[in-house]
């Protein structure tokens, strides 16, 4: 493994990846179940997400010089390990296709309704083609530049919303007991926190593995806090029901910014952040997917399969789901158990096996 990134760069990648598409889609998926207590669900899910992150990073740390596919082979045997590895490769590419679709729907519905979807998909496709060819070092360095821009967009929107928030919209707190809160936490666990399993492919690139647990969990928590504020502001501004029925609730919130009649129509800030973080999430998922496939099939260089995989991902992005209703129902029902299995249960199982194997030897 020649390429190296620093631990700060990893933190930046984790933040941008976790915020990713959740920036726009998380509030409605949480508020749908937990109503005015959605902000509690947001905190709860990012805390549980920290546990997920901890599981993943502990697993990788036990095998310092191996990446995830090699760990799978080591723990599960050559053929079964590779089979599971193939399953993971599919998950990464599938995630990339879904994220791509989300980004495309956002741009298409809000800004360019008459443009064919393929145009945006191809534009994103060219980006992932170029970034994955350049490798993780380049991806991280680009991310170092664009993450601060994205965070400024998000936090500026949050600050500019403060004049019109109505804090009593979140009361009564805990009116319906703890159950709705847990129901709201559930989708947030699958999306975005269980998706952090993708970093099993990225963590081995970090040059100093010393503080990696702290940095990985810490940056996940930072992203969780940002998402919590987004959820809170959305509920306080839009109220519960409008948040539930809005496809892009935080975008609708940003449309309401109006300070002194001249500082208005600033929804472009949050759109910019969204495009940036979705681009990063897409790139990381796709890059991890190509690495995983190259490992499973023992290829000399992962670059040789990038072009066909880009074509596959771009076509998946509009073939897997026919319309926006399918995008929504897939994300709210199927996605959570699916990503939970891959992002939490299997890594936990692997961690257990690794302890047993360690005891034997």
């Amino acid at each position: 493994m020649k390429e190296k990134i620093s631990s700060i760069q990893l933190a930046f990648l984790v933040i941008n990846f976790t915020i990713g598409s959740a920036l726009i889609f998380l509030p409605s998926s949480i508020v749908n179940h937990s109503k005015q207590d959605g902000w509690i669900s947001a905190i709860l899910s990012s805390l549980i997400g920290a546990v997920f992150a901890f599981i993943i990073v502990s697993l990788i740390k036990r095998f310092p010089n191996k990446n995830f596919m090699e760990i799978l082979e080591f723990l599960l045997g050559k053929w079964f390990g590779r089979l599971i590895g193939l399953f993971y490769s599919w998950f990464f590419i599938h995630l990339a296709a879904l994220v791509l679709r989300n980004g495309v729907e956002f741009v298409k519905i809000n800004f360019m309704p008459n443009t064919p979807m393929a145009v945006f998909s191809l534009a994103f496709g060219i980006i992932i083609l170029y970034t994955s060819l350049s490798g993780i070092e380049v991806i991280s360095r680009v991310n170092d530049i664009i993450l601060p821009i994205s965070l400024i967009g998000i936090w500026l929107t949050i600050i500019l919303m403060l004049p019109i928030i109505e804090p009593d919209k979140i009361s009564p707190i805990l009116a319906n007991g703890i159950k709705p809160i847990l129901r709201g936490t559930y989708p947030a666990l699958g999306f975005p926190f269980a998706e952090l399993v993708i970093f099993t492919m990225i963590i081995p690139f970090v040059n100093k593995q010393k503080n990696i647990t702290k940095i990985f969990v810490g940056s996940q928590l930072f992203a969780g806090i940002t998402l919590f504020f987004i959820v809170l502001i959305t509920i306080m501004v839009l109220n519960i029901y409008p948040t539930e029925i809005s496809l892009f609730a935080p975008f609708n919130v940003a449309r309401l910014i109006s300070i002194g009649d001249f500082l208005s129509r600033l929804e472009i800030l949050i759109s910019m952040s969204f495009i940036i973080s979705i681009g990063t999430k897409l790139t990381i998922s796709f890059y991890a997917g190509t690495l995983a496939i190259a490992q499973v099939f023992q290829l000399m260089d992962y670059r040789s399969i990038i072009i066909p995989l880009v074509i596959i991902t771009v076509s998946f992005s509009f073939l897997l789901e026919e319309d926006i209703a399918e995008v929504i129902s897939f994300a709210s029902t199927t996605w959570t158990p699916y990503s939970f299995l891959i992002g939490v249960l299997i890594p936990l199982l692997l961690l257990g096996i690794s302890f047993i194997k360690n005891d034997k030897s």
Partner: protein, 405 residues
């Protein structure tokens, strides 16, 4: 070899992004758009149809510099009818040469007749769903007059009538608080709330004002002005009654939407003007033996605006008396409107249900089902607390020293 390939790829990708980034597929040239500033809905020519009214800016006339007398009107009002609002808007292509653009919409007007008979629910979804129309656009009712008629009226101060209606609503709210602009999103919020009912401001064209008050150059179409009314009170999505402008302020006191206003207070057989500068209403709910009760604590900060009669404002007791008199006046005004809405309209226009839900979520679950009846018998206690701070530039009233005859 690889470097060359990457370079080539970079050149190709930057060139292709030139195609994608400007978004040429959805390009809309400015000279192909007509900017809609006002949108309104009237009853249609037949039962099953509605008429949509738009006010379109005439760019060449609107941008004309001052002093240049333009023969063109700065806007144009037209209307099309259709079975749904969306279909009616598309029919505008038969009347205008350009595509309508709703990104700069200022105000939405709904005809009162339509809102009384068939309700407003079928009008709102298109406005709420469309990406061009913003959710913070104020909505108003045109009482007893067609939107078409109201929008075609040329305002004297503003070149654009829709903008003038918007400013008018804002101005009434900010200086007298006897009306309030209600945004589109608030209507959706209220309609989906289990207890609260919609309240919308209404406007109407005044009768023609006398010709002599206008300069001669203005033609007769400019001879009437738009007047802000009070509130139209809804039951679900239909109007059940109107709260006149003199009562509308009390509703704003109850819902804590007072900016500034003047309270005329009787004191020592004269009328005094108390200039309210800020007001805060605390709404407390309590439940006793299953019966809800609302306590309104109105905190008013005010100045003396006008002291008539022989009044000495240097005395502390005078100000204290004025404060008490203000309390009484506001309390009576508020209680009158409370009674009127509770007994006459019987709809929760004050959002008391939400107050109870927020403060007593457990009791609300039993009250919720029967809220319409509970609201009518709801016990409401009003307590007003005025603090007068300033008295203007003079202390005693000059009438104190006036020759007594």
């Amino acid at each position: 070899m690889k470097v060359k390939f990457l370079k080539l790829l970079m050149i190709i990708s930057s060139l292709t992004s030139l195609i994608f980034l400007p978004g040429c597929w959805d390009r809309t040239e400015l000279n192909e758009l007509s900017i809609v500033t006002g949108l309104g809905v009237d009853p249609g020519p037949t039962e099953s149809e509605i008429t949509v009214v738009y006010q379109i800016v005439n760019p060449s006339a609107a941008s004309g510099t001052q002093g240049v007398s333009s023969t063109m009107t700065p806007f144009m009002t037209l209307h099309t009818s259709g079975k749904t609002i969306y279909a009616a808007i598309r029919k505008s292509s038969r009347e205008v040469s350009r595509k309508l653009y709703f990104g700069h919409l200022q105000v939405i007007l709904i005809n009162s007749e339509l809102a009384e008979k068939s309700g407003i629910k079928d009008l709102l979804d298109m406005m709420y769903r469309d990406p061009e129309i913003r959710e913070d656009i104020p909505v108003a009712i045109t009482k007893g007059q067609k939107v078409d008629h109201v929008l075609s009226n040329q305002s004297i101060l503003e070149s654009n009538n829709a903008l003038s209606i918007l400013k008018h609503l804002d101005n009434t709210y900010e200086t007298e608080s006897c009306s309030r602009p209600v945004e589109l999103r608030e209507i959706i919020n209220t309609l989906t709330s289990p207890s609260a009912e919609v309240v919308l401001p209404y406007i109407a064209l005044s009768p023609y004002i006398s010709k002599s008050q206008l300069s001669e150059t203005q033609d007769s179409s400019q001879a009437s002005v738009i007047k802000a009314g009070g509130f139209a009170i809804f039951n679900n999505d239909k109007i059940v009654g109107y709260l006149e402008i003199k009562d509308a302020r009390a509703l704003n006191f109850i819902t804590d939407h007072i900016e500034k206003t003047v309270i005329v207070v009787p004191y020592k057989a004269n009328k005094q003007s108390i200039d309210l500068i800020s007001s805060k209403t605390k709404r407390k709910a309590s439940i006793k033996y299953g019966k809800p009760r609302i306590d309104l604590e109105i905190e008013i900060q005010a100045n003396v605006g006008e002291a008539n009669g022989p009044i000495d404002l240097t005395k502390v007791s005078t100000l204290a008396d004025l404060e008490k008199a203000t309390n009484r006046t506001v309390k009576k005004e508020v209680e009158d409107v409370l009674g009127k809405i509770q007994k006459e309209f019987k709809v929760d226009a004050f959002r008391f249900g939400e107050v109870i839900e927020r403060q007593h979520p457990k009791d609300w679950k039993t009250l919720k089902d029967n809220w319409e009846k509970e609201f009518v018998d709801l016990e409401v206690h009003v307590n007003v607390n005025t603090k007068i701070n300033d008295i203007g530039m003079k202390n005693k009233s000059f009438q104190l020293e006036m020759k007594k005859k």
